[in-house]
């Protein structure tokens, strides 16, 4: 955690918790308590298929390369048999042809095997990297598309482990696993065919030995599946704890949490160690079992084959080739185990990823987006209407019961009220972080739900109390407001808000990396950057939710002075505990329990005897 990256996932999710006891999200049955979100049946398979589908042609080519490669490699023993049974007698008869053919054939096979191996490894890497690229992108985009509500419930550590360790385990499957599987299947088919062709009886025995092996594989698959799911959950818990500690390192140090954290982390780490060990032991059992079956089969075939050679019903060369093939038939069994390994762990991971991808954004993009009507005046402001809006958080209880409000274009409205009154909820509905459970929020008559994201963000922008900085330069951080802005426009925005001076005093000015040398930026300065960002975005409606809480008084005044020009003609909603904001407002709303209890011009309300007059008096006193 650097000084630059503000509060970790800090949020102000309305005032939902404290005030409504007895409705616990953490109590029972919340799927977010589990690591695996509810996944529709078959979603995992469908995900894998959809990842591979666009690469069908390349998967086919890759498989063909592998087929050819195996064909070439498996030709070896055949040539050995030919050399012994034909080449040697022919050579004795002064016919060097067959042996030369064997030599040339073997050389060709060797070269082809190497070349094909090269081509295959390169092609397979392409396929696997493309799948990973696709999957990483999907997770990322989907996580970004999911609503703020989702992010408040699904911890950042889990999201991170979805896109890191879980993707990594799919990568292992693709990089090594699938190759193993195809190699294994191909060599089984080839070798069985060869053995059957060499000798029906011996081949039959070899093929029959595959039955117990198959049973063993199924048994392993069942057991390992459980273990791997547990392992993936365990590592996710480790990651969550790790990230939380590193991001909160200052309080960890100041409150001497190191030892307690060591103990907590140790426990999670041990749990992971245990299931990890379980997984390895399952593998050990499988390998032992499969080798036992394989080696017994070899002994049986040799016994029978030797008897038949002794009887003269089988050529010695055929037995030699058969035995060589047999060794190869069972060689890939270990690799089958490795495949199952990576398959199990990838399946567990994919299931979680599929669960994440199956979450539908509760704030979806419109299917047929509408445009905002063209502005009527030269002012950027637009009219905002809350039309019978109802809203309750999933924890239950309505925060806003039947809320109606009209903000004329260009008006600056201050919203005040105690904690839990629904101020932030109002702001979040207007910024479309949430959708109302009933009613509509309209911007110039258009439902927010009908606006595509770029259109919506030209319309409404919100500046919150948490001023998170992304890694990159200060300029990058301001440019988030409008990436195509010129440097002049950006500096202009910073100047207007009073951030220019401190930015130019940084080691590299606007190009100072917020993470690097000397780039420490205080909470107040971060808020100024957030303001500059919002200003640059140039929205029709600007929402300020506690956006000046960390500024000192001159800073706040400077922002307010800037606001009087910046907000001119713009619609603005300002939420602040400090009533200094009111000085720039045209209108004040006092909220309580999700309703507006007072509404009027500031001077009018201050002069009155209502709640706002009380609040204002208390605030005046606090300025002493």
């Amino acid at each position: 955690m650097t000084a630059a990256t503000g509060a970790p996932a800090g949020n102000k999710p309305g005032e939902r918790p404290g005030d409504r006891p007895g409705k616990s999200p953490a109590a029972t049955g919340d799927p977010f308590d589990q690591d695996v979100l509810p996944t529709p049946p078959g979603a995992t398979g469908a995900l894998l298929r959809s990842l591979l589908a666009p690469l069908r042609a390349r998967v086919t080519v890759t498989t063909l390369l592998l087929l050819l490669q195996q064909a070439v490699v498996q030709a070896g023993p055949l040539l050995v048999a030919y050399a012994i049974d034909r080449g040697v007698p022919a050579f004795r008869a002064q016919d060097h042809g067959p042996l030369i053919a064997v030599g040339v054939g073997y050389l060709a096979c060797a070269l082809a095997a190497g070349g094909l191996q090269f081509a295959f490894v390169a092609a397979a890497a392409r396929v696997s990297q493309d799948v990973l690229l696709d999957l990483r992108g999907r997770i990322f985009r989907h996580a970004q598309a999911l609503s703020v509500d989702f992010h408040e419930r699904y911890t950042s550590g889990r999201l991170i482990s979805r896109s890191t360790t879980d993707v990594e385990s799919l990568r292992e499957l693709l990089d090594e696993g699938l190759q193993e599987l195809v190699t294994v299947i191909l060599s089984f088919v080839y070798i069985s065919a060869m053995l059957l062709w060499l000798d029906l009886g011996l081949g039959g025995v070899a093929v029959a030995s595959l039955v117990p092996l198959y049973a063993l594989v199924r048994w392993y698959q069942r057991r390992a599946g459980r273990v791997y799911r547990a392992r993936s959950t365990a590592i996710a818990a480790v990651i969550v704890k790790f990230v939380e500690t590193m991001n909160g390192i200052r309080p960890v140090r100041a409150f001497r949490r190191e030892s307690a954290n060591d103990a907590d982390f140790g426990e999670l780490n041990r749990r992971h160690e245990r299931v990890n060990g379980d997984a390895l032991l399952e593998m050990a059992r499988y390998v032992t079992g499969s080798r036992l079956v394989a080696n017994t089969a070899v002994a049986a075939i040799v016994l029978w084959g030797a008897h038949r050679v002794a009887d003269g019903t089988l050529a010695l060369g055929v037995l030699a080739a058969a035995v060589l093939y047999l060794r190869r038939l069972y060689d890939p069994i270990d690799r089958l185990g490795m495949f199952l390994n990576s398959y199990q762990s990838a399946a567990a991971s994919l299931e979680k990823i599929a669960g994440l991808l199956a979450q539908t954004p509760s704030v979806p993009e419109p299917a047929t987006p509408r445009q905002l009507p063209p502005l009527e005046s030269e002012h950027p402001g637009r009219e905002v209407v809350f039309d019978d809006v109802r809203f309750g958080y999933r924890t239950g209880g309505e925060v806003l019961p039947a809320f109606d409000l009209t903000l004329p274009a260009g008006q600056t409205v201050a919203v005040v009220g105690s904690t839990g009154a629904g101020k932030s909820t109002l702001a979040k509905l207007l910024a479309r972080f949430y959708d109302p459970s009933g009613g509509r929020v309209l911007l110039d008559g258009v439902d927010l739900r009908d606006l595509a994201v770029p259109e919506l963000r030209r319309g409404v922008v919100m500046v919150t109390q948490e001023a998170f900085l992304f890694s990159g330069t200060v300029a990058d951080n301001i440019a988030i407001g409008r990436p195509d802005a010129t440097r002049e426009e950006m500096e202009q925005a910073a100047k207007e808000i009073g951030a220019h001076d401190f930015i130019t005093s940084l080691p590299d000015g606007y190009d100072t990396d917020v993470r690097k040398r000397g780039g420490r930026i205080s909470a107040g300065q971060r808020q100024l950057v957030a303001f500059a960002r919002a200003l640059l975005a140039d929205p029709a409606v600007l929402i300020l939710d506690e956006a000046t809480s960390s500024l000192d008084i001159p800073g706040e005044r400077a922002v307010q002075r800037a606001m009087t020009t910046v907000l001119k003609g713009r619609t603005a909603v300002v939420i602040a505990h400090r009533l200094s904001t009111v000085e720039i407002a045209d209108r004040v709303l006092v909220m309580e329990h999700g309703r507006i209890v007072e509404d009027g011009e500031p001077a009018e309300l201050i002069a009155g005897t209502g709640r706002f007059a009380d609040l204002h008096r208390a605030w005046r006193d606090s300025l002493a």
Partner: protein, 626 residues
């Protein structure tokens, strides 16, 4: 292929990997036995062709059914032995190696927790996380397979080659010819592979950072509708990673190609030569069969060397990355003279208790001995501070701080945004080391106390109220001694006006933080304040403790806090008059120095800068208020 494969590795990779020894040591017996067992198993595998040869040349040629049965029985026994030995190998290492992985992870975590805060300022947590997860998994895999099998396969190859040479030395030499080119290829490509592997691992770390930031900053991204550009940045990074991975794959493919082709060519040559010699009668058919099946049995050990070396290389990189962090110096235990007796590498657990005890003695001794009133309380003596990673030549954040907060006194710290107030507060609990000067608590230099003891005396409430994934109760009580109970908790909650927690679903047992209920900024700030006061610390440092509170709550907190501050030595960063008024006196921080000290009203009258900070009015400037 007579060389030991390990010598084909880059020297520095070996050196990196050797550093793992302290972690591997506890598992050494199991690991060595496993390697031994694996060698045994491989040798058993090599004996099987010999039995075959014996059968072909003996009982089969001699039409001896009993001999055939005996041969088959040998085969079966050897097969069973091989299977059980392989199983035994895995069983031997499974638990110990997961333990090695876990202990390295615990060690990393422990170390990271104790690295200077300045280190964490520099390192993105994504980079740290990728070291703690992916890299350690790589290392475990390395210890389980490549390490053992480089040895096992090396021995197998040597034994196999010896067997082949014994059977027929000409054929043996033919098979040995490609050893040199294979080794050279490996050497050349492994080096390149190592570089690319390192780049890939670093890029994974960068990608992790973007993921993390996009999750933590999701509200900003959504608020500005920037998820597309964020996704683009992510896509660019992941494309770069894909490019690196593909380069890696091409190198690997080359190694594979060489390793597959050359031995196969040699075997082909051996086959022709062998067949000619069988035809000449110089060699028995059984010997040729045995020879070839030995050569083919060696194919896997030889082929595997390519990817075993690649895995080792990646493991070496992972080790480097791991030690990059582990080599960072943890905070020096205590000051020079107390620390001189004990090495810095000493385990923290013992340090914790030992120094805790000693410092308690010394601290109480100092307090008893401190007669001079000038020495009591919290004092900054000519404190100068520059961030350790600041560019050389840049002005220090704090130039020369001289400040005395008397025992029981509370001092407000006022200064413009970015003047270094937060930095100053971070110096008291020694989150950063002073560049020069001293800070004393009751006359005792803070560097003479162990950090544990110091931080037990000084409680801090940070500007950013971070809650951990734990119950409310635990989050608050972490500021107190272990003996603190419900009474302390309630008192602290009352001071911070945080009684709202009783209305939470499970009251003070409700989980909050990353994995629990998310609270509003004001609620978190109040809990952070409760955490700071719960231990009734001698010294209290509050960084803008009331910024997120509404007016009513702020007034209530102030009233309660006044009681606490009455007999606590406190330093309070303040932005507003209401907070300043909590304190007895005010210090104005300006230009890296304490520009003025006095009561609020004094400074308002006498100091223009202070008046400006407190009222926001510039002298002579019209305010644009309506």
């Amino acid at each position: 292929m007579a060389t030991t494969p390990a010598s084909a590795q880059d020297r520095s990779a070996v050196r990196s990997l050797l550093r793992l020894w302290p972690y591997v040591r506890p598992a050494r017996v199991r690991l060595f036995s496993a390697a031994f067992v694996a060698i045994l198993a491989s040798c058993v595998g090599l004996v099987i062709p010999l039995v075959l040869k014996w059968m072909v040349d003996g009982p089969i040629a001699g039409r001896d059914p009993a001999g055939v049965w005996l041969g088959a029985l040998y085969l079966l026994l050897l097969g069973l032995a091989e299977a059980l030995l392989f199983g035994l190998r895995r069983w031997l290492v499974a638990r110990p190696l997961t333990h090695v992985e876990a202990s390295m992870r615990a060690g990393l975590y422990r170390h990271l927790q104790r690295l200077p805060v300045a280190f964490h300022d520099r390192w993105a947590s994504g980079q740290l996380l990728s070291r703690g997860t992916t890299d350690l998994m790589l290392l475990r895999q390395f210890l389980a397979f490549p390490l053992t099998f480089l040895l096992v396969n090396g021995v197998t190859i040597v034994v196999g080659v010896v067997i082949m040479l014994l059977q027929d030395w000409t054929l043996g030499l033919v098979v040995l010819v490609p050893a040199v080119p294979v080794m050279v290829t490996c050497l050349v490509f492994e080096k390149r592979y190592a570089q690319v592997a390192r780049r890939a691992q670093d890029q994974v770390g960068d990608l992790t950072t973007v993921v993390e930031e996009s999750v933590l900053g999701v509200r900003i991204i959504k608020g500005f509708g920037r998820h597309r550009s964020q996704a683009r940045a992510f896509r660019d990074l992941s494309r770069t990673l894909r490019g690196t991975e593909l380069r890696k794959a091409r190198l690997l493919a080359t190694i594979w190609g060489v390793i597959v082709t050359l031995p196969e060519v040699a075997i082909g040559a051996a086959l022709v030569v062998g067949a000619v010699r069988v035809a000449d009668g110089a060699l028995s058919a059984g010997t040729l069969v045995a020879f070839l099946s030995t050569a083919l049995a060696l194919r896997w050990p030889v082929e595997s060397i390519g990817f075993l070396l690649a895995m080792s290389q990646e493991a070496a990189t992972a080790t480097e990355r791991f030690f990059e962090v582990m080599d960072e110096e943890v905070e020096h235990r205590t000051s020079e003279h107390t620390a001189s007796g004990r090495p810095t590498s000493e385990r923290t657990a013992s340090e914790h208790t030992a120094s805790g005890r000693t410092s308690e003695h010394t601290a109480s001794g100092a307090r008893a001995g401190a007669k001079d009133p000038q020495d009591t309380g919290l004092r900054f003596h000519h404190v100068r501070f520059r961030y350790p990673d600041a560019p050389p030549g840049s002005p220090p954040v704090l130039e020369d701080i001289d400040l005395h907060i008397r025992p029981g006194e509370s001092m407000a710290l006022v200064g413009a945004t970015g003047s270094g107030k937060t930095t100053l507060t971070a110096l008291v609990p020694r989150l950063y080391e002073l560049t020069s000067g001293r800070i004393t608590l009751d006359g005792k230099d803070i560097t003479e106390l162990s950090r544990q003891a110091l931080r037990a005396k000084v409680a801090v409430a940070f500007e950013e109220p971070t809650l951990f994934s734990a119950a409310v109760r635990d989050n608050v009580l972490m500021g107190a001694k272990d003996t603190a109970g419900t009474a302390d908790l309630e008192r602290a909650l009352a001071v911070a006006q945080a009684e709202f927690v009783h209305a939470l679903p499970q009251g003070t047992d409700t989980q909050v933080g990353e994995q629990g209920l998310s609270l509003s900024g004001g609620q978190r700030q109040r809990l952070a304040l409760a955490r700071a006061v719960v231990g009734q610390p001698e010294f209290l440092v509050l960084d803008d403790p009331l910024s997120a509170l509404d007016v009513h709550t702020e007034a209530a907190v102030e009233a309660a806090l006044r009681q606490v501050l009455a007999d606590t030595t406190a330093l309070i960063v303040a932005h507003r008059p209401s907070t300043v008024l909590l304190a007895d006196r005010v210090a104005l921080l300006s230009g890296g120095r304490i520009a003025a000290v006095g009561t609020h009203h004094e400074l308002l009258r006498t100091n223009a800068e202070y008046a400006h900070l407190m009222s926001g009015e510039m002298s002579g400037e019209e305010e644009g208020a309506r």
